[in-house]
């Protein structure tokens, strides 16, 4: 099928297949999936500027489907999602400006790439270690399998920070937490996402669980809700720069819709630690793809 906006001919079944795969991962893990869809689109000849914008557009649609399904399952904390947007958006903006400033002083792509790989490897290693430990606790101490976390000490420390206003998040089972903690965590994830040039689901989902103490299933659904807003915002800003092929995004969306539904429903069959253990594979995959890109195998930005 010929896509006149990007001026490329791509098999629509392949695009729908990529959408399905990314939708499945997004529905299950609550991530945007740009780390996977981007390189795949680039490999089939989509120009890099269109890869970023079109991926954001497709991510918006896929996240709407998955977030609606998670909402039906009771996995979305809308209040938390909206509060996190307040920290994420300025974080992304400041992160992007830091990069602009640094780029004017020289080529920093390699430095960002290495930082990205280090962060991904740290998240993947930590999540794998923690979820394996939580699964062990479930076996040996008969902890509640649904939400066993082997890292609760840090969550308790974070909750001790009591600077007003103190709010409650019943949908996440949080009785009292300082608004500043939520804004700080979301700003940090936004800042990292802006500096690294990614959506941030990789970073946000584990931080929601380990720092805020949000149950894994709710963290997945709430992250998707936030992705809808941030990716939607990104679609318009990239669209204004002429970086979005909406036809391609619509084709990808057809596959993503069914993948996201399956992914979201599948979370019902797995306990929190198991989801986190599966999730830990994603940062390693992302790190491998970045290393390949740094080595020139997958092309540059």
């Amino acid at each position: 099928m010929y896509f006149p906006i990007t001026d490329v001919t791509v098999n629509p079944i392949f695009l729908a297949g990529v959408g399905f795969l990314v939708g499945l991962l997004g529905g299950f893990f609550g991530v945007g999936g740009g780390f996977l869809a981007g390189p795949m689109m680039f490999l089939i000849g989509v120009p890099m500027n269109f890869v970023v914008g079109t991926d954001l557009a497709h991510m918006t649609g896929k996240s709407i489907v998955a977030a609606r399904r998670h909402r039906v399952l009771g996995h979305v904390d809308i209040r938390l999602g909206l509060l996190m947007v307040l920290g994420t958006v300025p974080g992304i903006e400041i992160g992007a400006r830091i990069i602009e400033g640094l780029e004017s002083t020289g080529n920093i792509d390699m430095v960002i790439g290495i930082a990205y790989v280090v962060i991904l490897l740290a998240i993947g290693t930590f999540t794998a270690w923690e979820s394996l430990r939580a699964l062990q606790l479930v076996r040996t101490e008969r902890m509640d399998a649904h939400e066993a976390i082997a890292f609760e000490g840090v969550t308790r420390q974070v909750r001790r920070f009591r600077l007003p206003p103190i709010i409650s998040l019943p949908a996440s089972g949080i009785e009292a937490i300082s608004l500043w903690v939520i804004l700080g965590v979301s700003f940090l994830t936004g800042l990292l996402a802006g500096v690294l040039g990614v959506g941030g689901g990789f970073i946000r989902m584990p931080l929601m669980i380990y720092l805020l103490g949000v149950p894994t299933h709710v963290a997945v659904g709430t992250d998707l809700f936030e992705v809808v807003i941030s990716a939607g915002f990104g679609t318009v800003t990239h669209g204004l720069k002429g970086n979005v092929d909406v036809l391609m995004a619509l084709v990808m969306g057809t596959g993503a819709a069914i993948g996201a539904q399956i992914g979201a429903v599948s979370t019902r069959f797995f306990a929190g630690p198991r989801i986190r253990l599966f999730f830990s594979v994603l940062p390693f995959t992302g790190a491998t793809l970045v290393i390949l890109r740094l080595l020139g195998v997958l092309g540059g930005h």
Partner: protein, 82 residues
């Protein structure tokens, strides 16, 4: 796959995929081909309108497809998975 309930659900799921695939193929050839030229013209002439229309189309498609898949899932009893 000894459990007949699981077997029936997998069967229903494959039927859902087949129905969905047929709908998507029809969608490719009717809607997307019709939209191709007007969207390309808009991309060249008015990028601001194009950007907002792109978001509206993505949202509309997502809501529509979510409703279609939910309807088929309900029709085939797959919503009981929830």
């Amino acid at each position: 796959m000894k459990n007949p309930v699981v077997r029936k659900m997998i069967g229903n799921f494959l039927i859902e995929l087949a129905i969905y695939a047929a709908l998507v193929v029809a969608y490719f050839f009717v809607v997307l081909r019709l939209l191709g030229e007007p969207l390309n013209d808009l991309f060249s002439s008015n990028l601001t309108l194009y950007a907002f229309l792109a978001l509206a189309l993505i949202v509309a498609q997502a809501v529509l497809l979510e409703a279609v898949t939910s309807f088929i899932m309900g029709l085939l009893g797959l919503d009981q998975l929830e």
